[in-house]
């Protein structure tokens, strides 16, 4: 007997090579298909083809759903038309469309050729929605009830349509024109009298989204209202499909990734790190690098203006990096908090004075601590440098703490005011702005106090 708990790609490969059909079938029935798909992805195309011939059709279809897209594309090119046909019959339409979106056009045609009339029109409908719209994500497999149905009829319908449906937790109610008029949870149906009509027990204020709504918007809405299923309607309010919350986890994760990338001066990149090509990675990074490099000229120019004075007291230049990075850090701490506040807690431009006064208090506190810490630090590490220089440096840091925190708090809110993305606009620019201000203040103070 084979110990399935020890299953790995090698073991599957051995089973395939020894043509152990019975064990393979048993393995794929027992073991989690998502874990298996990860292992299968490591196999050769011929080996996977053998698996698809051996396994039951439903199991093959499920396995196919969870394979990476490049493997799927390889499989499609190797499949016979009969195999493609049985595959699309056993896949959920939304999973199928999900992967069709990434295929080259000739393969899509090959697949559509094998689909029957009804499937083809469903697929084409889903493919017609923009990539990030609710329409492209929705599932067409759901239970639809009529307002006039009795509870008994409804249960019959659920039994009939339920097997193929994504979820039966909530069923949606339509009128004769298929307009969405209500929703009713399975729980309510199960606890109602058999002869009650759906109209009487349904909830009439349904929260819904349209096919053209942005996925992020739908995800946020479902999160806010604790919804597990959201009905999707077209412009005429006809019920077209549903979106379930488990699909939204990926949308939310993607959104977080985008925000993090934007804050790190990356133009958001789809696809995982390892899957992205070199060209995509370079393209996503180069734009901001160039902009920021060129704009740092400003800071350089400021220093250039003081070049002769630096030549008189070279020690002044030692502190340039520290002042710049401390100012940059303080600014990005503030901007990060405010950007996150805008995204998660609906922080708004009307809160601008609250934000500024909060940042001011924090800055005065942090500035004092930094001032003292820096004086102690330089006295220990650089005792031979002129004490006036140290005082200039520490005072500059105190002032910069205040300015950086204010700018960091202000910029994201300004970006929002001018309808720009706070994460993309504010975060990368903070450092550059703060750097330039830091150098200006530093050398102006030095000039005044050191009598240059």
């Amino acid at each position: 007997m084979i110990d399935f708990a020890q299953c790995n790609a090698e073991m599957i490969r051995d089973l395939i090579q020894e043509r152990q059909v019975k064990y393979l079938r048993e393995l794929f029935d027992e073991y989690n298909i998502i874990d298996l798909a990860e292992m299968v992805a490591e196999l050769e195309v011929e080996e996977i083809m053998f698996l698809f011939k051996t396994l039951r059709k439903e199991v093959s279809a499920e396995l196919f759903t969870y394979l990476p897209n490049d493997v799927k594309a390889q499989m499609i090119t190797s499949f016979t038309s009969g195999q493609i046909k049985s595959m699309i019959e056993n896949l959920y339409t939304d999973d199928l469309v999900d992967f069709l979106q990434d295929l080259p056009a000739n393969l899509i045609r090959q697949i559509l050729k094998e689909a029957d009339q009804e499937q083809r029109s469903e697929i084409n409908l889903l493919l017609s929605y923009p990539t990030y719209s609710a329409g492209s994500l929705m599932s067409l497999d759901f239970v639809e009830l009529k307002a006039e149905d009795s509870v008994k009829q409804a249960i019959q319908k659920i039994k009939r349509q339920g097997k193929a449906a994504e979820t039966i937790q909530v069923c949606f109610v339509v009128d004769l024109q298929r307009n969405l008029v209500g929703s009713v949870s399975l729980r309510t149906i199960l606890f109602a009298q058999d002869d009650a009509t759906i109209k009487d027990i349904m909830d009439i204020d349904v929260i819904y989204a349209t096919t053209r709504d942005d996925q992020e918007h739908v995800a946020k809405m479902m999160q806010r209202y604790d919804m597990t299923v959201c009905p999707i309607v077209n412009d005429e309010l006809r019920l077209i499909g549903i979106v379930t919350i488990d699909d939204m986890i990926d949308v939310l994760e993607e959104e977080v990734t985008e925000d993090i990338q934007k804050m790190a001066a990356i133009i958001p990149l789809e696809g995982s790190y390892l899957e992205s090509t070199l060209g995509e990675i370079v393209k996503s990074r180069i734009a901001w690098l160039l902009v920021l490099m060129v704009s740092a000229t400003l800071t350089g120019g400021i220093i250039g203006g003081f070049e002769e004075k630096i030549a008189l007291i070279p020690a002044l230049s030692f502190f340039i990096p520290m002042i710049m990075s401390t100012a940059g850090n303080a600014g990005s701490q503030a901007s990060t908090m405010v950007i996150r506040g805008i995204i998660v807690d609906q922080l708004d431009t009307k809160d601008i004075f609250k934000v500024l006064s909060k940042e001011l208090s924090i800055a005065l506190l942090s500035g004092s601590v930094i001032f003292i810490a820096n004086m102690v630090r330089v006295l220990i590490f650089m005792p031979e440098t002129d004490i006036t220089v140290h005082i200039v440096v520490s005072v500059t840091m105190f002032i910069m703490m205040v300015i950086s925190k204010m700018v960091g708090g202000l910029l994201p809110l300004l970006a929002k005011k001018f309808k720009q993305d706070p994460a993309a606009m504010a975060a990368p620019l903070i450092t550059t702005i703060v750097d330039a201000l830091a150098m200006l203040i530093y050398f102006t103070l030095a000039l005044a106090w050191l009598g240059l």
């Binding site: 390892l274 490099m293 930094i370």
Partner: protein
Amino acid sequence: MDLLNLTLAEFRTLIEQKKVKDLRYVFEEWHPADIADLLTHLTLEEILFLFKTINKEQTSQVFSYCTIDTQERLIEAFSGPQIKTLLEHVEFDDVVDFLEDLPDVLVRKVLQNASDSQRQEINVLLSYHPNSAGALLTTRYVELNEEDTLKTAIEKVRLQGKGAASIQTCFVVNQNDRLIGTVLLKEMLTSNEDILIDEIMETDIISVNTKDDREEVVKVFSKYDLSVVPVVNEQFCLVGIITVDDVIDVIEEEATEDIQRMAGITPFEGSYLQTSVWDMFKSRIPWLLVLMISATLTGLVMESYAHITIALTSLVIFIPMLMDTAGNAGSQASAMVIRGISIDHLDIKDFFVVLLKEMKASVLTGLILFVVNVVRIVVFSPSIALGVAILVSLAIFFTIVLANLIGGSLPLVALLIKVDPAAMSGPVITTLVDAVALIIYFNMAAFYLERFIQ
């Protein structure tokens, strides 16, 4: 006045004029989340008036959507019987959620008003680590026995289902309470009534342990596309379930934590406006200090190469640009790898794949920056010698390569030594990369001065 689209002012007028009937209608029709939003702007007296006059079930629902500040104010003001009714109507995982953030005095006040069985259940939930699966679970699920016939099972769903958090999936245990399978309700509804649960249940169970970190739980949900996951203890006994809507909130919180770490902030809970100045100060000052002190490193580098800057002061002009570019390149690479670790299970075994990728990407970006920078200096700053322009641009090239390599590898190293990868990025990388950039720059400058100037 349109009761379905009230402004805050109109809502307050309704309260002031004690229009109980209209208010009841609002609570009936509005989603509790929207009402909770309005409540944050009301005075305590106004909210208490609402809680007194409106149906208990509805106010309790609104309560669970309120911000922790409002919840705290309310618990403080509530009488004993009011807390009792609240406990009867609010789901236990929500109760525990706000208890975790309440001061001790108020937790005691709530527990004093709970019945014995409620107190016991709350205490069990409170005993789990706040970041563990245990703290997310709810005990309200439908439990079936392996020997149940489908008919008994459906009866059980009817009985236990009313209060359950999810009836989509039911959980099957054996005599010893061990979790042995799951059954989908739709499977039950479409099968023959006489068969045993044993025959239709799925035995390949995805579950989490009470002690698992909640980040693990999120990964399980997103990997296996689940809507509910059973939580078991060490003996594999079923103790509760976690539903996907609770996990959605965790995603948001974990993301905020990661982003805060990447910006050199010690993660804390609570929104921007709710958090006190002192708490924010505490979360920010450690990294500011650490990074300032470690910037001594760059200071020392500058000091030891002072003879070069004295010989050619125009070199100082390019320091900000060099440092900024280095820092940006480093955090670009680290941001991508950190996200790769938390989403795509990037691992230490991918170390060389990452390194190779960063190497190639950095050579390409470095080349582009090199060309642009030479052209820029020649066009806009003709007073600077071509040699210096090339020197500076070459330094940028090497800095980008090193910054990308360091930025890409440090998060993976953090994983190896079991430190949060996000904490190893942003500020830490910038400091490290700054020092490296300056060393490269000055060494190249020294070489240039020696060969071409003297």
